[in-house]
């Protein structure tokens, strides 16, 4: 019984992480760039929602504005900021610098503590998730879970059945080859940033309504999103599942072991995986590795 409650609680906690993971994964798989600003943008979404709501904007509308706004912002950043830098390391450092700036601007405006949305129906209403049991969750959490599932399905369908989706998968596989067949990677990269950020923002909004946001909360979420992305090993559909799993682990952890244990396991795993993969020459993680295996020049 306790286990069931824990499981439900974990799944609820996992939903925002799943969303964050999906968003980060789209960006990472498509562009290979570590968009350090991602986490802070998630937190920003929460804050913007708060502010808009404070000014009387209807919460649903505010949510929409925030999602679209951050998506456009991210796409613009990729277009005018990251792409001209030409190498992923520069992008990492640049976005790192921006993230520090943004995070602290948020701190100045909103203060360092966790900021909570004023009480609203979404947050206070409790639903019984599994009828006949004690397993309950707040309405917003259920909504988040629902959104995560819907987004996952939509994306899976999009990648499989639309031309843009196929093109994007091609770019994830190998950007250079994709450009030979007439696909324009640049557009798809911008799209990746837009969609990835939009999905992430959605998660950020849910988190805001649910538990509130602090300037640094985005960073931790981004870390978990990165873990889910890594574990997904290039297959988009796996990422939300891993995100959920991490969420569950964290809530179970909270009873026995702290979050750092989950971090240790995942990163030790990552290290092990990277080493072993090299030894066996298998390329599962990023299928878009550009460097060809050393071909025989003139054997």
């Amino acid at each position: 019984m306790l286990l069931l409650l824990l499981f439900v609680s974990g799944v609820m906690q996992g939903a925002p992480i799943a969303l964050a993971g999906i968003g980060f994964a789209i960006i990472w798989y498509t562009t290979k760039e570590f968009h350090f600003l991602y986490g802070t943008l998630l937190a920003t979404s929460g804050y913007l929602l708060y502010s808009l709501n404070q000014h009387g904007v209807n919460i649903w509308l505010a949510g929409l504005i925030v999602i679209v706004g951050t998506a456009l912002l991210a796409a613009g950043l990729e277009n005018w900021g990251y792409i001209p830098l030409k190498n992923p390391l520069s992008v990492l450092l640049f976005s790192f610098g921006l993230a520090i700036v943004l995070q602290n601007v948020l701190q100045i405006i909103y203060g360092p503590a966790n900021l909570i949305m004023p009480a609203n129906e979404l947050e206070s209403r409790t639903l019984t998730v599994i009828p006949g049991t004690q397993a309950t969750a707040q309405a917003i959490q259920v909504l988040a879970l629902g959104a995560a599932i819907v987004v996952s399905i939509l994306l899976a369908a999009g990648f499989k059945f639309t031309r843009t989706g196929l093109a994007m998968r091609a770019v994830m596989r190998d950007e250079e080859v994709a450009s030979y067949v007439g696909i324009r990677p640049r557009r798809l990269r911008l799209l990746a940033y837009a969609i990835g950020t939009a999905v992430g923002s959605l998660g950020g909004i849910f988190t805001m309504i649910n538990v509130g946001t602090s300037p640094t909360s985005g960073f931790d979420t981004m870390l978990y999103a990165f873990m889910a992305t890594f574990l997904g090993a290039g297959i988009m559909t796996r990422v939300p599942l891993w995100g959920m799993l991490i969420g569950i682990l964290l809530s179970v952890e909270a009873w026995k072991l702290p979050a750092s244990f989950a971090t240790l396991i995942v990163f030790a795993l990552m290290l092990f995986y990277v080493i072993v993969r090299e030894r066996f020459g298998r390329l599962r993680f990023r299928r878009l590795e550009a460097a060809p295996v050393a071909a025989e020049g003139n054997p």
Binding site: E296, G297, N298, P299
Partner: protein, 300 residues
Amino acid sequence: MPLQAPLLEARSITVRFGGLVALRDASVDVRSGTITALIGPNGAGKSTLLDVLSGFRPPSYGEVRFRGHDLLKTSSYKMAGLGVARTFQNVEVFSRLTAAENVAVAVPGRDGESVSTLLTRPRRSRASRMHALDRARELLEAVGIAKYADELAGELSYGVQKMLVLARLMATEAELLMLDEPGAGLARTSLDDLAGHMRSLVTESGKTILFVDHNMQLVLDIADFVYVLHHGEVIAGGTPDEIRVNRRVADVYLSGETAPESETTEADIAAAGESATEPKGDSGGNDDVLDTPRRGGLRG
């Protein structure tokens, strides 16, 4: 020449990747004080063989001995110290180092190369560094690119880079020098210079050279001994004259790609069929498939 054990002996070298057999049972000898060439059409396995001999690719089967040393048990970085050094097809200069630095790195010298010697022997380390620089200057002079000494290697023209890697090779003081396509992409005058340097390395500095190339003229002009590879097998081995009249070699070159420099005419091909049956040693010249109309030649 007195018959002594070859400097480098390779026996039954076989290299497989997955289902592909890149080299099959290849055996070569390199004698001290000679220039040996490995030739063959594209895909014949020449560079693979060179990679095996220089320790950059372990073979699936076979044996390589250098002065009796089992080379296959030697790591690639120990080769230079042992006396075997090589160049690469795609040059591999240290782009963001100057030409002088490129050569200086190759100059052997224990002091100053490791942190421990830097701690315990600072003065000798400094002396070793100065010596390396001096030696680098000498060698750059010797190959005629001294004026580029302080230029970044990555900014030099291809021809100059090829001379740079030659100087770098000489700096290692290795006895057996292996060159991978040294003539590729060089214009005629540079080829002449290259041939000259290779010759003098053997006659004046007592080195031994093994090289892979497509350039027929270079090979025929300076090689003392030639091995011909085809589809991973050594199909012929002999002096340039012997190779010229070898029928199997002729067949191979007709079916495969011809070297960029050679100009085989219809008459040559027709004549090849006849000249192959003539007694060996008859180097009439004009009827040979592998011969090319001489226009001054490599030696002017």
